[in-house]
Amino acid sequence: MKHTFWLLCIVCVLQGCATVEPWERGTMAREEMAFVPDKLDQNFRDHIHYSKEGARMVGAGSGGGCGCN
């Protein structure tokens, strides 16, 4: 059952794949389509979450700072 669910998810995702020509990628250049549209704001929020929660996501950048208390 669990495997069927994931298989269906993958099929649904792959159905959405298409060849996107370079001249069709104008939307991708929009600020709101970036993975991180506001880096300053996102880094600050990540630091708060790291300081107040047990999880620490691993990603790009060098990190740092205590964020204790």
Partner: protein, 385 residues
């Protein structure tokens, strides 16, 4: 310590070499624009409720933060981003938890108001190549009792007619802790250090002209003093220092989905993340954000986040007996809880200027009496020239 320093140096040298080999000059140069962004935040934690407070101050932390980020083009293919941060903190901090009259956990807070400041500087050297891009990052953070230095290298390799990108990176750091001494807690450590080394690999793909998806898997190891020198634990009537294992290995997985909806002139951001470490903490989060474009160059971004984590193996709000492994922590950050947050952000663009403001509320639900809730007010402005 010397071995760790040598390892960090070797990693820096290897990444610098990788950075120089990552590709040739590109056919799609950067915009060659300078930019300057400023962001100020007021972070205010809610008071601890009286029925959950044993002794100490009910007023928790207020943090005022100022961030300034400048982007400087260096060549037609590279740019340097410099980010400075200054924050000042004041308030009371949770110390330990005691059992109440009926065994319910009650928080002991510090009495005196703590005043601290932290400064941080980050440097990111970004280079763009024909088929790849790379970033070298350095970071240094300084407080009166804590300093931290970090290093990161991340890269991306594009293929499949630039529709697909493989992303990868390494990061490492060293933190040095020299806690303020307090006569009430004679067992407090004087000087300790911890090191961390991690990496990630991911893939991102343009699925349709309106859909971008990314997946990233990361792992990290922390070694050294991983306890909190200011936290204590209650063990059968006595108070002892927080004591955690000196090694932590963690794995994280994140999925990012960006969908532009032309009919609404808006973009939906969906972020899913999962986390697991060898202290038996597992966590998952869901973040949804709706980026709505409006007339007159306004944009409104409502967002929400749900987060849940399980407790660490050695965590307990208080201990009625001693543990055979000697590990103790009553830190609320190691307890099981669920957090909910909602945020509303407004952005206004005019020519090359931008002004933005936001409000966020974060609340928690769980057994620990010291779980935090906060309000975050932000205001920022930026210019490109």
């Amino acid at each position: 310590m010397n071995q760790n320093t040598t390892a960090l140096g070797s990693l820096c040298a290897a990444a610098a070499l990788l950075n120089s080999l990552a590709g040739q000059a590109n056919a799609n140069p950067l915009t060659q624009e300078y930019s300057l962004d400023y962001l100020t935040n007021v972070y205010q934690e809610g008071d601890i409720p009286q029925d959950k407070l044993a002794t100490g101050s009910e007023s928790r932390y207020t943090i005022n933060t100022h961030l300034l980020m400048g982007v400087v083009p260096l060549t037609e293919d590279s740019q340097l981003t410099i980010t400075g941060l200054h924050e000042s903190m004041t308030g009371a901090s949770p110390w330990y938890v005691v059992p109440g009259d009926e065994g319910e956990p009650a928080q002991v807070m510090s009495n005196a108001t703590i005043d601290e400041a932290r400064n941080q500087i980050d440097l990111d050297l970004y280079t763009y190549h024909d088929r790849s891009e790379s970033t070298l990052s350095l970071s240094y953070s300084k407080e009166n009792d804590y300093d931290s230095v970090g290093f990161g290298y991340s890269g991306a390799w594009r293929f499949n007619n630039d529709l697909t990108s493989i992303n990868f990176g390494l990061n490492a750091g060293q933190d040095n802790i020299h806690p303020t001494q307090d006569d009430r807690f004679p067992g407090r450590v004087r000087s300790e250090a911890q090191n961390r080394l991690g990496g990630f690999v991911g893939v991102s793909h343009i699925m349709t002209k309106n859909r971008l998806v990314g997946l990233s898997l990361g792992t990290s190891n922390q070694v050294g003093y991983l306890s909190d020198p200011y936290k204590q634990v209650w063990i059968d009537g006595s108070v002892a220092p927080d004591a955690r294992p000196d090694r932590k290995s963690l794995t994280s997985l994140s999925l990012m989905w960006r969908e532009y909806l032309p009919a609404y002139n808006a973009a939906l951001h969906t972020d899913l993340a999962a986390y697991q470490d060898n202290w038996t903490t597992t966590a998952a989060s869901l973040n949804l954000a709706w980026h709505q474009n409006l007339p007159y160059n306004w944009q409104l971004v409502p967002s929400m986040r749900v987060y849940h984590q399980t407790e660490a193996a050695f965590y307990s709000p208080y201990y009625e007996t001693t543990r055979s492994d000697g590990y103790y922590s009553s830190d609320y950050r190691l307890s099981e809880f669920t957090a909910f947050s909602g945020k509303l952000k407004a952005v206004w663009n005019w020519s090359s200027f931008q002004v933005k403001g936001s409000y966020e509320y974060y609340g928690t639900q769980g057994e620990h009496p010291g779980l935090v809730s906060y309000s975050l007010y932000s205001f920022g402005m930026g210019a490109t020239f």
